[in-house]
């Protein structure tokens, strides 16, 4: 029986290959996800290990909490360096000042595609672990060393000059040397520019301040002992760690961020691919088991038990699963590279190191590959066991239904109900985000299965509709294609369902993005009273509030306001964004959507001790106007703020509105991350404002429309990345269509031979198969589009509340449908050729 299984695989090499491919690609995605995230982990581990290699002890300010948005830079006084140096056992101590900035080469800010431009201190030996590859050490004022990836990109050489834009404005610097960093030589796309401490402090506008102290030990002193001594000698409230510990902590923190975000997102996409693959395996096995009906009957007539028939099919599935997993793991290494390239193409250059195929990855890949294959082949295998011996004498290739078949529709409806229930539970329950996402995912999964089960009822009418234009173009090929697509509705339905899933996800993502874009534009358009928006959209450099106020002197400007963003921890409300503004001008540039009786007048009352809460924030439900909330800033300062009122805004300014004075009180920088400027509408004001910001060349002054376009472009970029990741499942569903068609062509060999004999041309046969393929693909495409829209509608209206508005991305939907047709045409290439090449003589003698 086992031998029979292998024989069956070998006798249908194309089906075997296509089935293996279907599951292989999903396995490869899973493997690729783990390999890539492990590589990124390794990459960061390597970077941090390198940076702390010569450091025995590292002193840093302690952050009271860390937020998703990145921690606000905190600094220490640089006289701590002298104090540290005085500790017995300390060999050297170097103060480090770091800040984000931008590089301006040939008058243009250098685009990093989201990666930071880091202005940092050259700490010298032994702390500086970079390797100089060109030029010399830094000698004097405003000389810098630059990382090689940046030098390569811009063509800067030792001796060249360029401009640095720091928080304090512009400075001209001269390249002294070019260095490489760690194993990979770079930090992904991050630009690193190192200078002398006092220079960097000046660029950052914080002379006398440092971000940390690196300390090396005298011979014979262990880092641990030294850390304890340094801690004892310095003021409390500082983080003092051994270099090793600092590296490990930093590595763990990034690994955590990756593990809680990137890994699950990538795995979700891999999961979609595996799920699509499962459909294809199910279908492939259903078809071949049906085609081998006589063979099974013959075996049964010869005395094979049901169990033996089952074994032969299961062994076949097992072999496929093992084969697919093995190749899939290998291909996963390529997928890891592919995803990384995709990120890079979209501007996210993440550092990676080594080829990281952990045993855990292999185990998961094999379990998924083999498990899904076995599970998907189980129903067809059970049907094979139900072939009665007498079938050996009968014509035709229909299988006896399983015991549950007559409950098929009821089962499908039950699965629908269950899926809808799970989805609803996920949407409406109050549980944790992960749990809710899981229920929603599970619900969507079940709905897909149910739709695939029910789709057989619409296959015939749908074929008629979709086939209609084809019949007009080529009457007989179109007619036959339409008939063939409807001949075995369950088969066509399952094949179409595979494409449906991938496309539904694509459409869902598109609908969601559309809602995001539309709602954001809408919120901005409705609320803003400003005409210009200025922001550094790549490096997020800030502008001092004084500079913002000075913009009001620019001719044509009526009022200008800057918003500073800070993360604060709210007692009983988690971490929220505090949007800090000058209350005297804010209402002139922004009109909030007031709730619970709030109005613009509230800003008149907004002072250092009060707050206006966003009504959808976690704390808003628990308090009313007049209550106080307790907040803590990242620098550890605490404040009690009186709630003045509520507004609704989940798009632009979620969290809360506070005054700049509150930030000062909380010891958080008040520089503006965003500026809103109201003009009198006179021409040239935009250019004038831009000129007024000449010291901040990374700030882009845009009209409202330009600003929205830029935001939309960013959403589109993310959308593109999702499309890229979903492309795999669409590719897999193409294999599914190819497989079904190839098997159908095989099944209809005799019929095709007859058609040729009575005068059908090769072209007509090819056309027939192509049309059948397109009909299947379009059914999948239309279903997918409808399901995707439905999912998008539910999620947008239910989860988004009244903040997200549902609208349809018509143009994209049309593109997707065209894509479905293309999928059909592409999938038909091979089967159509096979059909056209059918040898009449062999076909009509074929048994």
């Amino acid at each position: 029986m086992t031998r029979l299984a292998f024989r069956s695989l070998a006798s249908r090499p194309l089906r075997t290959t296509l089935t293996v491919l279907a599951i292989l690609l999903g396995v490869a995605m899973i493997t690729g996800t783990y390999v890539l995230t492990d590589q990124i982990d390794n990459g960061f581990a390597n970077i941090f290990e390198t940076s702390y290699k010569g450091t025995a002890v590292q002193v840093e300010p302690k952050s009271s909490f860390s937020s998703m948005e990145g921690d606000a830079p905190q600094t220490l006084s640089d006289d701590l360096v002298a104090k540290a140096l005085a500790v017995p056992g300390v060999d050297k101590a170097a103060g480090v000042y770091e800040t984000a900035g931008a590089a301006i080469v040939d008058g243009k800010p250098v685009e990093t595609g989201g990666a930071p431009t880091l202005l940092t201190t050259d700490t010298g030996k032994p702390f500086n672990q970079s390797v100089l590859v060109a030029g010399d050490e830094i000698q004097g004022r405003n000389q810098v060393a630059i990382i090689k990836s940046f030098a390569d990109k811009t063509g800067l050489k030792p001796g060249d000059t360029f401009t640095i834009a720091g928080p304090a404005g512009l400075e001209e610097v001269k390249v002294a040397g070019v260095f490489e960093w760690g194993e990979s030589g770079s930090l992904g796309g991050t630009v690193v520019i190192a200078g002398r401490l006092q220079d960097v402090q000046r660029w950052g506008g914080e002379p006398g301040r440092i971000s940390g102290i690196s300390i090396s030990a005298d011979p014979g002193v262990t880092p641990k002992e030294l850390a304890a001594d340094v801690k004892a000698a310095l003021p409390t409230g500082l983080s003092v760690k051994t270099g090793e510990q600092a590296a490990a902590d930093a590595t763990a923190e990034t690994a955590d961020a990756i593990g809680s975000f990137l890994t699950p997102v990538l795995l979700a996409f891999a999961g979609v691919s595996v799920f699509v693959g499962a459909f294809i395996i199910f279908n492939a096995f259903s078809i071949t088991v049906a085609q081998r009906r006589r063979e099974f009957a013959m075996l049964r007539a010869l005395g094979a038990s049901r169990r033996q028939v089952l074994t032969s099919v299961v062994v076949e599935a097992l072999t496929l699963g093992v084969l697919a997993s093995a190749i899939g793991i290998g291909a996963g290494l390529g997928v890891a590279k592919g995803i990384n390239l995709l990120f890079k193409a979209l501007g996210a250059d993440i550092p990676t190191a080594g080829i990281a195929l952990e045993p855990r990855t292999v185990v998961i890949a094999v379990i998924v590959g083999v498990g899904v294959t076995l599970l998907s082949a189980l129903t067809p295998a059970l049907r094979a066991t139900r072939v009665p011996p007498v079938a050996a004498l009968q014509e035709g290739a229909t299988l006896p239904p399983t015991r549950f078949a007559r409950f098929g529709t009821i089962t499908a409806l039950a699965v629908t109900a269950l899926g809808a229930g799970s989805l609803a539970f996920g949407i409406f329950s109050d549980g944790g985000t992960n749990g809710r996402l899981l229920f929603m995912g599970l619900g969507a999964l079940m709905l897909f299965v149910a739709i695939a089960m029910l789709a057989k009822f619409i296959v015939r009418p749908a074929s008629r509709v979709i086939g209609w234009p084809m019949e007009k173009m080529a009457p007989i090929s179109g007619r036959l294609a339409r008939d063939n697509a409807g001949r075995n509705p369950s088969r066509t339905a399952a094949t179409a369902a595979a494409l449906m899933i991938g496309l539904a996800m694509v459409v869902f993502v598109a609908v969601f993005a559309q809602a995001m874009k539309g709602s954001f534009s809408d919120a901005i358009s409705k609320s803003t009273r400003a005409d210009l928006v200025a922001q550094d959209q790549s490096a997020f450099l800030t502008v001092p509030q004084a500079t913002v106020r000075s913009l009001e002197k620019v001719p044509g400007v009526e009022s200008a306001a800057g918003v500073a963003f800070a993360a604060v921890k709210v007692k009983g409300g988690g971490i929220l964004t505090a949007n800090a503004v000058d209350p005297t001008v804010w209402a002139k540039v922004w009109g909030h959507d007031w709730r619970r009786g709030g109005s613009d007048d509230l800003f008149a009352k907004l002072d250092a001790d009060s707050v206006i809460l966003e009504d959808g924030s976690s704390i808003a439900a628990k308090v009313k106007a007049g209550d106080t909330i307790a907040v803590t800033s990242q620098s550890g300062r605490k404040a009690k703020l009186t709630v003045l009122g509520f507004y609704r805004d989940q798009m632009a300014y979620s969290g809360m509105m506070v005054s700049l004075d509150t930030l000062k009180k909380l010891d958080v920088p008040t520089a503006a991350g965003m500026m809103l400027v109201r003009t009198d509408g006179s021409e040239g004001t935009q250019a004038a404002v831009q000129r007024a910001l000449a010291q901040f060349p990374t700030q882009k002054v845009q009209t409202k429309t330009e600003y929205l376009d830029a935001i939309n472009q960013q959403v589109d970029q993310i959308l593109m990345m999702f499309y890229g990741l979903l492309a795999m499942s669409v590719v897999i569903s193409i294999f599914g269509i190819v497989n079904t068609l190839v098997l159908s062509v095989h099944e209809r060999t005799r019929e095709i031979g007859m058609l040729r004999a009575i005068g059908a041309t090769r072209r007509q046969l090819g056309q027939m198969i192509r049309y059948e393929s397109v009909i299947t693909a379009v059914i999948g495409g239309v279903l997918g589009t409808l399901v995707g829209i439905a999912m998008g509608y539910v999620i947008v209206t239910q989860l988004g509340g009244d903040d997200l508005m549902f609208s349809l991305p018509w143009l994209q939907l049309v593109v997707f449908l065209v894509l479905a047709v293309v999928v059909g045409v592409v999938a038909a290439v091979l089967p159509a050729r096979r059909a056209a090449n059918t040898r009449i003589l062999e076909a009509i003698q074929y048994e």
């Binding site: 009457p475 007989i476 007619r479 036959l480 008939d483 063939n484 409807g486 001949r487 005799r750 019929e751 007859m754 058609l755 040729r756 004999a757 009575i758 005068g759 059908a760 041309t761 090769r762 007509q764 009449i840 003589l841 009509i844 003698q845």
Partner: protein, 277 residues
Amino acid sequence: MKSTAVQERDHTSASETLDRLERQFTPEADFTPNGNPVVQARGITRTYGKGDAAVPALAGVDIDITEGRLTAIMGPSGSGKSTLMHILAGLDQPTAGNVWIDGTEITHLKEKRLTQLRRDKIGFIFQSFNLLATLTADENIVLPLSLARRKADEAWRRSVIEAVGLQNRLTHRPAELSGGQQQRVAVARALITRPAVLFADEPTGNLDSRTGGEVLDLLRRSVDEFGQTIIMVTHDAGAASIADRVVFLKDGRVELDEDRMTRDHIYDTIKNLEVAR
């Protein structure tokens, strides 16, 4: 493949239909060949395999098929009947030799021309009825015309349908038709294009003798009434007895070629050939 035992049973249980057919069609009666060969074959050899393993399926066959006649090709199993028919119909290429259909040499025709030829000059009837399950009887009948994007000549279509007696089955699908009815649809499908020659490979092989008789009757009438040229490969002496001419093959050669043979005569010939083996 059929065993001799089965043939014998077929023969001995020959139905009244066949008797009636034989009575209706008396070979001795006024037959005038009009002398136009529709299909001509010269020096046909066909060898399967190469070298030591070579199997000569046809070893030099010359044959002329005259217009408006029903020619039966008979012979023991493996004698090359199907191979000859396939080569005459342009479905297979001979190892050597030439075939002309309606004056066109076909052994060197390109794929496109061959398809054209099939559309215009050739009709097929297979042993298994080979209808398209999804099309109605009527649609199956006009399928060759649809493929050629031609319209059926209404009068001709009506006479063909009438001849096969399927007037009130036209909207049925093959699954709703009996085997005999299905084969009659196949015959109608072959006649609808008025082919120069109609090939039939054991057209009654899958039918019982009564329905088989009906199909033979139909073939006979299409020769008599429409002047259709038919080449029919058969194992069945009864079937061959309605032919104007019977060609016996043996080991890839023409062993006997005779006009108007009776069933008994054919039956004896078969026996002799088997014994001679």
